[in-house]
Amino acid sequence: MSTDIDAVHPLDTSGARLSIKKPVQRFDRQGDLSDRERTEAAMRAFMHEFGAVTATYLESCIHCGMCAEACQYYVQTGDPRYTPVHKLEPFKQAYKREAGPFALFYRMFNLKPRVSADELQNWQELLYDSCTMCGRCTLICPMGIDIARLVGQARHGMFQAGLVPHELWAVAERAEREGSPLGATPAVFKDRIAWLSDEHGVEIPVDRDQADVLVSMSSIEIMKYPQAIVATAKVLNALNEKWTIRLDGYEATNFGMLSGNVQWQKDLSMKLINAAVKCGAKLLILPECGHAYGAMRWDGANVYGKPLPFEVLHISEYLARSIAGGRLRVKKAAASVTFHDPCQISRRGGATQAPRDVLAALGVELREMVPSRMGSWCCGGGGGVVTIHRADDLRYRVFEIKMKQVDDTGAEMLVMSCSNCRQTFDDGQAHFKWDKTAHSLLELVADNLVQ
């Protein structure tokens, strides 16, 4: 008996301190489905994804392994399991067996066996803990396979199988139930607004019937960086916008999307869309949040099933546009700055130039990280990974890349436009006792407004 335990948890005598080697990766399960029910549920969800575009990607992989070289998890650990396309193995196997052109033969001769619950469980770590869907692999793939998008699709099956890391499942479930993943319920939010309005002496309109601009927030901002709300209000008031926050639709984060629940993703997006439609907004401003941009700017209309009747802008885009139009004036802020590109806004969202235009208007010396913009390294907290506690060690390892990048610029100030990145930076700063603090682009602008 004791030998079994020793085999599962062998002594690690090679490290700096003596310890037990990391146990076999644990996985979480939701619900009490049987293994068979779990795989069948996963298959049904996978099947839904196998359209022509996904099929082309899954057919095209040449097993060249280049995607590993773009992935922060592989680069930092050298563990081949973190090869991005390997994370899709069960998804790919399901495709070949169920929907590909030769599926009939794969099934007839069992050339590709049925995906098992064990496999799905083993892949939980690969599809969640070690993938932020940052899309660097999409950029390197010589066949142009959008691996990050496929990981998102594979998560749909994982959710249906009830095989999501527990914390991520829990925040998603809370978001669906309470409207916010982090306890920023309408009541809590309302209290916060009232308090912030008093404290900072800014007017924050709530629940206007009619408004040109609807402002949404991230729970992370509401709960952890409430200054962002004040900063937003300052900017919009300075611009004399007819704007509002609505308590029936304010949450921009979408943990339904990150965890892989299509229905919850839709529910969360529809709240925001309905609120904007209700107040006749011409513009929906998304907060400093990366995945919110992907969920609303690019997926919103598809969830809605038709083009959205309003424009969607990330706050950095809104700032850049306002400054370019001469409506918003900012003071020169003398400092050297480096800017962290949030993956979903920059590499996968296309709003890469806007924050740089804003920084240029602020007159700061921008010291770009190498690489930056499209090729930028992820902070390691995206894709819901920052919520998963068991992934902390791995996350800190990949964060080392980011710290080195920032240090190498020698810039005095670190700026970004994503509160999820920001909280990942804050956590990394605390863990490593690092001397760099992450700042918000929006707050930097708000602090330097010309009244």
Partner: protein, 217 residues
């Protein structure tokens, strides 16, 4: 009927038939699966241009990836270019292409072809060594990878033996060379070699998808 007659006759006919049959099967089987309409407002127009740009630009890695991919890339480029030169530059091959398609062009001197074939073979061997030693490639590789390697390397080896008249009589070597290529033709649509045709589709759809977002992937 000897081996060469078989290779030039029935085997060529049926291998070509399987080749086109398989290609159409696989392409229609993939491309006719369902598609969804994207209702999001594009940041930029020119999805087609984006597709074309990615189809071409993705042939070369972005600056930030170059150092880490240089070796694998050099090896793959070596055998891809080598194969292209040998397949499209050697006069007997051009004649085959002309007899099938009516298109012809001038060939390269044999010395150049032999050199390229040897380089190609060396690069293929290096690629194989890398595949069986590199932890990532070892993990990813399956039967398709190794079999596709064999059917790609076999025509190069038999071709070199044929021009060198080494190992058997010329007509036997020529027959084996043609047959080995026919095996490649038969395998092409069903394995990873199909990436030759899927490449523009996969790159193109990514290029078009991100061009809408104003991203140049």
């Amino acid at each position: 009927m000897n081996l060469l007659d078989f290779a030039r006759g029935a085997a060529m006919k049926w291998s070509l038939a399987v080749f086109v049959f398989g290609i159409f099967w696989r392409l229609t089987g993939i491309l006719l699966l369902h598609r969804t309409h994207d209702y999001s407002v594009p940041r930029a127009h020119g999805a087609l241009l984006g597709a074309l740009r990615t189809i071409i630009a993705r042939s070369w890695p972005r600056r930030e990836f170059r150092a880490r991919t240089a070796y694998g890339l050099a090896v793959s480029y070596a055998f891809h270019i080598g194969l292209a030169i040998v397949v499209f530059g050697f006069v007997p091959h051009i004649l085959l292409i002309r007899s099938l398609t009516g298109l012809g062009w001038n060939g390269l001197p044999d010395g150049v072809i032999y050199f390229c074939a040897v380089v190609t073979l060396i690069a293929l061997i290096m690629a194989l060594i890398r595949r069986v030693t590199h932890p990532v490639l070892k993990l990813l590789s399956n039967f398709d990878d190794y079999f596709s390697w064999v059917v790609t390397a076999a025509p190069v080896v038999t071709g070199l033996l044929t021009v060198a008249h080494y190992g058997a009589r010329y007509e036997t070597l020529l027959a084996l060379h043609i047959l080995s290529f026919e095996v490649l033709l038969v395998w092409f649509p069903f394995g990873k070699l199909m990436h030759g045709l899927l490449l523009p589709v996969a790159r193109g759809q990514t290029g078009a998808f991100y061009a809408r977002r104003g991203v140049n992937p």
